[in-house]
Symmetry: C2
Subunit: 413 residues, 2 copies
C-alpha cells in the first residue's frame, strides 16, 4: 500500500445511500493487514438476482471458480470479500477454503450454499486459512445494516490509494431505483497485492438472465476497455446484484433484456461501470496521468480496440506520457505492431486537439510548444485516425512511472 | 545515449578478422550526433548474395520498404547505414530520401540501384535529408578497407551502451570460411532512439535463395525470441551477405539449403545470431539482469513460445526480477493471460534449479532464502512446465528498472 493518495483521486467521495434489500458489515480479521478492515459481508434479501463477469485468465483463482459455478443459479443472499490474500494458485487447499467459507456464509445468512458469492484479493500462492475469518461471518450478518456502504469500499482495498464509490438514481417505469457500486484496483493486476474487484447493487427488480445480459454487454466499453499494465489478474471479478425491493414500490419486474423500460437503467449502469473503471485507472500503480486513447477509421470496431489497446499497453507510449513528451512516433510504432490493417501514409494523430501527424508525416502546422503545454495536463487524450474504415474504440490507461517500478519491484523483497 | 555501460556488457570484444570481399568505411556525417561516427558503408565484391529479415510492423520505415524491394534481386554491392534519424513515418519525403541515397550509393559503388541496401536508426518522424551524408559515399567507397569491422559496430549505435560484435570460423567443405556480425539495440525498440539492426557477412559462396532460407529459419530461436519491452520497431532489419570469395580457395558453392555440407555453417550462423540477439537483450534500456524463460510441456512449441513471451513481456514479472523477488505468482498470472491451453493444477515453476511451485501450489520443499540468493545473480533462469504436452520454447528478456522509465520518459522532454 502506498501512503500517498493518487493525484488523480476524486476531489470528494459521493455520499452512498442505502439500497433496499442490502445490508453491509465489515470487520478486521487480520488476514494480513493490521489496524484496518479486511473483510466485507454484503447480505441480500431473499429474491436477489445476480450476474457476474470474471477474469479471462486460464488460471483463475478458487473464488472465481466458486462464483462461476454458483452463478448458474442466478440467486444471491450473501457476498463475502476478503483482502490480504487472493486464494489464487492455491490448488486443492484453495478449493477447500472456498468450500469451507461458502458453508460458513450460508449458515450465517440462512441460505443455500449456491446463493453465496466469494472474492479474495491480496497475496497469491499462499494458502488462505478460512479459520481466520469464517467464524466472524455470523456476527457480521447480524450487525449488517443498510448504512454500511461508506465502509464497504475500504475493506476491499489493497494497493489502492483511495476507496472507489459510485451511486446513481434512475427511473424504472415510474419508480425511482438506486444503483450503488464499489471497486478496487490498483494494477489491472499486481498478483501480490491487487486484482480488479467491483460490486454493484440495485433495488431494481430484474431477473438474472436480463441482469447478466446487461452486465456482459456493459463491460465491453467500460471495465474491458481499461488497462494499467497489460497484466490480467487471476481474480478479476465484477458482480451485479438486484434485490428487487423496488417492486413493492411499484417498479416493474424486468425479465427481457430488450425491454424498453430498461433503457434508462442500462445507461445509468453503463455510466457507473465506466466511472468505477476510470477510478481504477486513475489509481493505477504509480499513475500520475490518465490517458484516453481513441482510434477511429479502423476496419472494424474490434480492430480499433486492438489498436487502441496496443497503444495503451506500450511501455514506450506510457513512459513518454509520464515524461510529458508528445511522442507520436511511439504511437505509430504501437499502431504498426498491433497486427491490424493500417497504412502509415493514411495515419492522422492528435494529442488533445492538436494534430501532430497528418497522412504519414509530421503535421507542418503542429506547434511543439502548444503540444508541450498540453502534455502537462493530468488527463491526456490521444486520438488516431487509421483512415481505412469506420471502426471506432476508446480505451483508458495511465502513464508508466518510476513509482510503478518501485511499487512492483520493491514490493516483497 | 547513456553514459554508463550496461553491467551485462561482454567483458571483452572479439577481434574482428577481415572477410574476403567486404570493405568497410565509417564517417562522421553529423546527422544528429556530434563527435562520433554515424554513417557506415559496407562495400561488397561483385557476386555477393544477400538475404534479409525485417520488422513485422505494418508501418515499416522507408529503408525497410527499400530493402524488401531490392532483396528480390538477391544481389548486394553496398550497404549504407546511418544512425541519428530512422527515416520512419516520413511519408513521401522518406521515399525520396531512400531513392536519392540509393542513387548516390549505386554511383559510388559502381553498381545497379537494386544492389544497394539501406538502414536508418534514430529519431522517428523527422525527415532525413540525404544531402547530409550522400556526398560522403563516394569517398567512403574509395577509402573502405577490410579492417573496418572494429569501427562498424560503433557507427550504428543509438542508445546502446556498447557496440555488439561476433565472429566465427567454420569449415565449408574442406575450406575454412569466416562469418562476422554486428548489431545494435537497445530497446526491442525505442522509436526515438533505437531499433534492432544487425548485419552479418561471410566469404562463403552461398546462393541467395539458400542464404534466405537459412536466415529465415535462423531467426525463430534467436532474434525472434528476444524481447526488451514488447514494442516492435518500424525499422528492425537483419541482413546476411555472402561474398563467395572463399570459392577461389576451393569452398563449394551451395545452392540447395538442404545441402549437407551447410550443416556446420548453419550451426555457426545460428549460434552467432543468438549471440548477437543476447547482446541486444543484455544492453536493453536500463537492463540489470538477463532473464531466460523456458516453457516446457505446452500443447505445441508455438503455444510454448506464446506463453514464454507472455511471461517475458509482463511488466509485473520484469519488475519482480528487478526487485530480486522470486515472485512465481506473477509467472502464473502471465501463463494465465497468454490465452494458451494451461491448467493451474498442473503447473510447475522453477527459478534456476529451485522448484518453487508444484502442481498448482507452493512447493513445500522450497527455501525462500536459497531463492533470494539465486535472484541476486545477473542471469536469471525461469522455467515453467505446463504439464499438458511436449511443446517447448525459450525466450530471453531483461528486467524492467526505473532506469528504463527514466531513459524513455526523460528522453525528449
Amino acid at each position: 500500500m502506498s501512503d500517498a493518495i493518487s493525484p488523480l483521486a476524486p476531489k470528494k467521495q459521493p455520499k452512498m445511500p442505502a439500497i433496499d434489500g442490502v445490508r453491509i458489515a465489515t470487520a478486521q480479521a487480520g488476514i494480513k493487514y493490521k489496524g484496518r478492515t479486511d473483510l466485507l459481508a454484503m447480505v441480500f434479501d431473499e429474491g436477489t438476482t445476480a450476474a457476474g463477469v470474471f477474469t479471462r485468465s486460464l488460471c483463475p483463482s478458487a473464488p472465481v471458480d466458486f462464483c462461476r459455478q454458483n452463478l448458474t443459479g442466478g440467486k444471491a443472499r450473501i457476498l463475502v470479500v476478503n483482502s490480504g490474500n487472493a486464494n489464487a494458485f492455491t490448488g486443492k487447499k484453495g478449493r477447500e477454503t472456498t468450500a469451507a467459507t461458502g458453508k460458513a456464509a450460508s449458515k450465517a445468512a440462512g441460505c443455500g450454499e449456491s446463493e453465496v458469492f466469494l472474492a479474495s484479493t491480496g497475496v497469491i500462492g499462499e494458502p488462505l486459512d478460512p479459520a481466520k475469518f469464517s467464524h466472524l461471518l455470523e456476527g457480521m450478518v447480524k450487525e449488517a445494516d443498510a448504512t454500511g456502504w461508506a465502509e464497504a469500499g475500504k475493506a476491499i482495498m489493497t494497493t489502492d490509494t483511495y476507496p472507489k464509490y459510485a451511486t446513481a438514481k434512475v427511473m424504472l417505469g415510474d419508480v425511482e431505483v438506486t444503483i450503488n457500486g464499489i471497486a478496487k484496483g490498483a494494477g489491472m493486476i499486481a498478483p501480490d497485492m491487487a486484482t480488479m474487484l467491483s460490486f454493484v447493487a440495485t433495488d431494481a427488480p430484474i431477473d438474472a438472465p436480463a441482469l447478466q445480459d446487461m452486465l456482459s454487454k456493459g463491460v465491453g466499453k467500460t471495465f474491458n476497455s481499461v488497462t494499467v499494465d497489460s497484466d490480467t489478474s487471476t481474480s478479476d471479478t465484477l458482480m451485479l446484484f438486484a434485490t428487487g425491493a423496488a417492486e413493492k414500490r411499484g417498479a416493474p419486474r424486468i425479465s427481457d433484456p430488450k425491454d424498453a423500460r430498461l433503457a434508462q437503467f442500462r445507461r445509468a449502469l453503463n455510466k457507473m461501470l465506466k466511472n468505477l473503471a476510470l477510478q481504477v485507472v486513475r489509481d493505477g500503480e504509480g499513475a500520475r496521468k490518465q490517458v484516453e486513447i481513441t482510434v477511429t477509421g479502423a476496419k472494424s470496431s474490434r480492430s480499433a480496440k486492438r489498436i487502441a489497446l496496443s497503444i495503451a499497453n506500450s511501455p514506450l507510449v506510457k513512459t513518454a506520457v509520464a515524461g510529458e513528451d508528445a511522442n507520436w512516433g511511439r504511437v505509430v510504432m504501437a499502431v504498426g505492431k498491433a497486427g491490424e490493417p493500417a497504412d502509415r501514409d493514411l495515419l492522422d494523430i492528435w494529442f488533445g486537439d492538436i494534430r501532430v501527424a497528418h497522412q504519414g508525416e509530421r503535421d507542418p502546422a503542429y506547434s511543439e510548444n502548444a503540444t508541450s503545454d498540453y502534455m502537462k495536463r493530468d488527463e491526456v487524450v490521444i486520438r488516431v485516425d487509421i483512415g481505412l474504415g469506420r471502426g471506432k474504440a476508446t480505451v483508458w490507461t495511465c502513464d508508466l512511472t518510476k513509482e510503478y517500478v518501485a511499487i512492483n519491484g520493491d514490493y516483497r523483497s
